[in-house]
């Protein structure tokens, strides 16, 4: 990763409190970590907060740092775990809210309901997907459900879920060709 430096040297440097080494790792990985966190959280500022706080924790506990895999693998896993915590936290919050408002219904998996601001062209394209494909795509895209959840709700294999979403994206890409250029 970092400019050809052997990983052991970087890890040792960080463990010894070398801030330059730490900043270098930060510079090298920050953006791709945020991109990954964003796929999990779907919220850019939440993603950045998560990645930043992971780096802060890493620096705090640098003297006891044990990295067996590559630095990059270590960081991605750490971000992944924090994002899962974050998602768990959200779930607790929304359960609280739902409870105190005594059910506003909805966990939103009605395929007919799209975000309001969505362009007509896109809405039509999604609406025109084959039924099962559309259903699965909507659950993933708009309800933010992960494959295992979709799989258990629809009683379909995770593989099928993945194939269908892949198919949906390819169909949409064709459909929106002239529009997706930006």
């Amino acid at each position: 990763m970092t400019q050809g430096l052997p990983e052991e040297d970087i890890i040792t440097a960080i463990r010894e409190g070398n801030a330059v080494a730490f900043q270098h790792v930060f510079d090298t990985c920050y953006e791709s970590l945020c991109a990954y966190a964003y796929t999990l959280l779907r919220d850019a500022s939440e993603a950045e907060d998560t990645v930043q706080s992971m780096f802060m924790k890493l620096w705090e506990k640098r003297d006891t740092l044990e990295i067996k895999q590559s630095v990059r693998s270590y960081l991605f896993r750490a971000v992944y775990n924090q994002c899962l915590n974050q998602i768990e936290h959200r779930a607790v919050q929304s359960r609280h809210r739902a409870f105190s408002q005594s059910e506003v219904g909805d966990s939103g998996h009605d395929p007919e309901v799209f975000p309001e601001e969505l362009e007509e062209k896109v809405r039509v394209a999604v609406d025109n997907l084959p039924p099962q494909c559309k259903k699965i795509f909507v659950m993933s895209r708009f309800d933010g459900l992960r494959y295992p959840e979709i799989s258990s709700r629809l009683n379909l294999s995770v593989n099928t879920i993945q194939n269908q979403i892949c198919k949906a994206l390819k169909l949409l890409r064709e459909e929106l060709k002239d529009f997706t250029s930006k």
Binding site: Q23, F26, A44, S70, R77, S140
Partner: protein, 329 residues
Amino acid sequence: MSHMSRIEIDDDLIVRYLTGDAEPDEAVAMSEWLTSSANSAYFSQFENTWRRSAGAVQPEFNKRDAWKRVSVEIHVPVAAARTTRTTSFWPIGVAAAVITLAVSAYFLFFVTPKHDVVEMGKVATSDGFRFVELSDRSTVTLHRNSELQYPDQFQEADRRVRLARGEAFFNVASDAGKPFVVEANGVEIKVLGTEFNVQLSDTEITIHVREGRVFVRSAADSITLTAGLSGHVVAGDITVTDSSVGNLYSYATQRLVFNDASLTQVIHDLEDSYPYTFELKNQSLKNCRLTANFYKDDIDKIVNLVAETLNLTVTKDGRHFTLEGEGCL
């Protein structure tokens, strides 16, 4: 043993990544795969569709702002500790300060705390490179198996250091009143402020001048070298050649230029500039030729690009790369 792309990147993984269903290891593989611009273009077709399908905007992550925030939290100066010195004291107009800084970020890891550098007045390398900052803000990048001796403070009329063995790249801070002198096997190289490389072998001392002017004096001869020239001192005699070709001192500048270079040459230059070794699995690979420019790229990225261009398979084992492929005619 780790394979560069242990995890195969296919459409399924791309989609899984976008939907937030990729495992960390898969995301790592994706992030490495995405360093290729062809891959990234392919990826963005999916990403675009995924994003537009929910009317989302492309998120932008700014590592500089983020680092400011993080560095405050963890009480580290924004330009981390040791570089602050280098950045803030450079007189404006010193030759190629930018390059020096880039190099320093890279090599500072090798500077273990002061006792090694300042008190002993000597720094030596074995199988790694090393970056040294002198008390006058001049900087030296030491190649492998090299040794540099220098005082803690330059108190004499000139700033005098000694290259005891090996090779070093000097970026000398301007100080008109105090010449900077490198001694190497009885040869003196004298400058005011410039960048140059000194390479020492048993029989010869080679000086490449990157910027400015350098005065070289042996017991028997003397000459002034300007940028783009090399001086060769053999048994006291100095000859001059053109040094504008090839990847000289790339270990210090991190700039590599290949112009229809043979793969053998490419590997030689990479080994000379990075702490890694290479092996060509098939003889026919030696016929492959490459044209490419690299500047401050990390080794994985370079190797990936070379492999992609020449259709090679790469295996990385610690600090060793093995290249395999059909070869070239």
